[in-house]
Subunit: 193 residues, 2 copies
């Protein structure tokens, strides 16, 4: 059986490697269409679109497990994506500093057997994150480090930003981009088959 | 000012590096004496003994910030240290699997100025950790990986063991060995001086 990660994220790759999984990365350009409104549903929908596109492109004779994932940050009921410019990163962090927010990662697991039958598991995990207060200088220095630019919510919990994280409630790796524990638990019946 | 980490732990070194601190490592062989009983007090006491021993050995003319730390795992009111043999690791994990426990890290910051005056900050952070259930085979396979042998509670949350972690409450890095956020917040007045 071949495991395929349907994501170009280096952090997701590292997490799967950390938990001892062997896999390859395949990314399909899929036009993301969101019909859901509730954050958990949004990330499930997006993770499914990514996974289905990669499964569709895979050879029909392959026995595969495809993993799709999508992560968003929710602050005061608003979804925050990746900042498109440094000024937006400063704005996001200024609002989030000293406060709490939530990170949602949706995961879709698609397991296709040799006979073509597909089994699906779709779920999401939510993690609450609390930040220490930050001065304007700290925010600007952090944004200048560049760490924030490709990350939802404009911070990387596994990087320099750990300075400003007071604590979390839920799965830490979910904030990094993949709920590694839950994912392994859900996938293991297929990994062992 | 020179920052000194009074710990040989590679994980603590990585965490300080992650949050952008420059430091050197100095370890003093100190006979650890615990008079406290409450877990938070125990780790504070041990972190202080390590830091004081390193400060004492440092040249008097040096302006230094010494960081001492100690981490323990508490399960059902009992302190679990590092397993001395594989069979104890299996025993610890068999008890902890499917359950919750607490990780305490105590930190001592000693800041000595040129004039010899010493300022102290001593604190601890507690993080709750919940494990998924594990089969006997999973426990034995994990112990065989060797990851558990030099770690309090016989697991490394930042390694392969992430497979079995359901979630946490508190600072993740505190489980790894150093509450990086709190430490930075407490130390920054001295780091900037």
């Amino acid at each position: 059986m071949k495991t395929i990660l349907a994501s170009a994220s280096p952090r997701r790759r590292e997490l799967l490697t950390q938990i001892g999984m062997e896999f390859e990365v395949r990314v399909s350009n899929v036009e993301e269409k969101v019909t859901a409104v509730e954050p958990g549903q949004v990330v499930e929908e997006l993770s499914r679109q990514k996974a289905e596109a990669v499964l569709k492109a895979a050879e029909e004779s392959e026995e595969v497990l495809v993993i799709g994932a999508d992560t968003i940050v929710v602050f005061e009921g608003q979804i925050l994506g990746k900042p498109s410019a440094a000024e937006y990163a400063v704005e996001m962090l200024s609002r989030m500093a000293g406060n709490g927010h939530e990170v949602y990662t949706g995961v879709t697991l698609l397991y296709r057997k040799h006979n073509g039958a597909v089994q699906r598991k779709i779920f999401h995990e939510r993690t609450k994150v609390a930040f220490f207060p930050m001065t304007e200088t700290e925010i600007r220095d952090y944004v200048r480090s560049g760490e924030c630019m490709d990350k939802a919510g404009a911070y990387g919990i596994q990087g320099l930003f750990a300075r400003y994280v007071r604590g979390i409630e839920g799965d830490y790796n979910n904030v990094v981009g993949l709920p590694a524990g839950r994912l392994y638990q859900e996938a293991k019946e297929w990994l062992e088959s």
